[in-house]
Symmetry: C2
Subunit: 319 residues, 2 copies
């Protein structure tokens, strides 16, 4: 079965089972009111307050909890820009799993430091080589169990648990805006919303300097995207992964693209008014929530994570 | 009846009634795991994520909700360093109440700006004159209803609602550490813990440069304290208010005093690891929670608020 068909076949009960499974590791994150333009209410889903500082604990916990012991006999291996691997290490440590993580050379130092602290073996690659691993799942160690940070069925289901919380926390919710990295988070949320027949619009968001999903929707298929240096300096994706496209195409209601200035202003409002620190992707989500480029009235912005380098934090607050 | 006797006479049912009353205005704040020294677990009670950015919404909501309409016929007046008055304005606006706030000249600009936005009439005073209003409740307008930011019975009861949440969120909690400003927050929490017979130690915390409560415990009565310029540059108190002392003396299990360096390190850990922005008082609470100057094992630090001037935020993050 294709990944698309597997995810679209998930029922509400599947997502509820995942929520129960990850409960020992992930918290039900708060959904807080945030400043909004007139005529709209915005609430922020604070995944940056999760253990490990990002939503990836949902994804990692649902994968690792379901691995049989012998699956990790030769270790676990992943390619991660930073948030997925620490989450796997945190959950896997209790089961004695060893983890190797392949990272791009420009991964945030704060994320690499977290990997070191957690005892993860780190292998750095030039971005194209790292991206090749993301596309092929071939990290040069066929005996180890490869865990993909985006395209694992159990990981996507784990991400979908956020949708259950959103609907319970805010029955009047009509639109949820989700940062697009590889698409694992938004696919999970959108699939769970569909399984619940919640009638809630699920929008992706990107920054204009790094917008491969908007490009894919425009072209009708994944196309290479020439990223420029940007506020959102995470490695992200060069294009939409082929395996994810059918899922994204069928599940997402649209893409909101914001400018760097909008993202920066959103970052500062989140810090000064909401008192939370976020990664760039999360500021993009809040910027998109405030944007007039969609017509949502009760809008949730998913703040995916908070692991930002201290230097970048100062830069963003000083700008 | 004295304020002490009124507060010590509160039952668990009184605090539960307050919790129900403030529910339309205040949230149940998250209690999050935070980095801790070996042998201790620390969780942070994130009042900085409340509407208005501080715990004062609990206090203000419980006061304003219980005011009869005619009590505010000639307006409401308060003396507030900044967080109480906006909270009163937020809750009172729905009832059409007008508010005048007397502030010390060194109140944080970000708090004054919030007052302006909320339509509060602001009157600034030199610190000694402002402090006299805090001591006498005489703001020169005998017709207006004066609401004290610290010593209102209903305000203290409102603050106590936090204790109900703490006990429910963390049954293993053994120690809670509460910033000391005027004593309204810690009195409420300690009185509710006592009413619940929760068996939980309630410790105040202060920074060494501004520690009037520790001085009062040392002297056996409130004594003047010569504040020096400090990390915690809020106006705070020059000494413990006479009316609060019997309550504090009988309810508090101790005072943990931290250094400016400890508070600053705590501020940065909260930002970088927990992804929250706090006021100085809250960093003091987390610093005290980490300190070896008490023997708590399962320790909650109350992060009282997040309204810090952007310039002070940058200074604290750059240090």
């Amino acid at each position: 079965m294709s990944l698309r068909d597997a995810i679209l076949g998930k029922t509400e009960a599947d997502f509820r089972a995942a929520a129960a499974g990850i409960a020992p590791h992930a918290i039900v994150t708060p959904l807080l009111a945030a400043p909004a333009p007139a005529g709209r209410e915005i609430r922020i889903k604070c995944e940056n307050l999760q253990p490990g500082g990002s939503f990836k604990i949902r994804c990692a916990a649902n994968i690792v909890e379901q691995l049989p012991d012998d699956a990790a006999a030769h270790g676990l291996v992943t390619a991660s820009a930073g948030n997925f691997a620490p989450a796997v290490a945190m959950v896997g440590a209790a089961r004695g799993f060893r983890l190797t993580c392949h990272v791009p050379v420009n991964a945030a130092a704060v994320k690499l430091a977290a990997l070191e602290r957690l005892g993860v073996a780190v292998v750095a690659h030039a971005f194209p080589d790292w991206w090749r691993i993301m596309e092929t799942r071939d990290a040069g160690d066929p005996d180890a169990r490869f865990l993909h940070p985006v395209c694992e069925e159990d990981g996507i289901t784990g991400n979908g648990t956020m949708a259950l919380e959103l609907v319970e926390q805010w029955p009047q919710l009509d639109t949820v805006i989700v940062p697009f990295g590889g698409g694992g988070m938004i696919s999970g949320i959108a699939a769970a919303m569909r399984a619940m027949q919640a009638g809630i619009k699920v929008l992706a968001c990107e920054i204009d300097a790094a917008a491969p999903l908007a490009a894919a929707f425009a072209a009708g298929r994944p196309v290479p995207f020439e990223r420029s240096a940007t506020f959102a300096n995470g490695p992200g994706t060069q294009s939409v992964l082929d395996i994810m496209w059918p899922l994204l195409r069928d599940l997402i209601d649209g893409v909101v693209v914001v400018s760097e200035a909008e993202a920066l202003a959103a970052f500062q409002t989140l810090a000064h008014d909401s008192h939370v620190i976020v990664e760039a992707q999360s500021a993009i989500a809040y910027a998109a929530a405030r944007s007039s480029r969609h017509s949502g009235r009760n809008v949730a912005a998913v703040l995916s994570g908070g692991n930002i380098d201290p230097a970048a934090l100062l830069t963003n607050l000083s700008a």
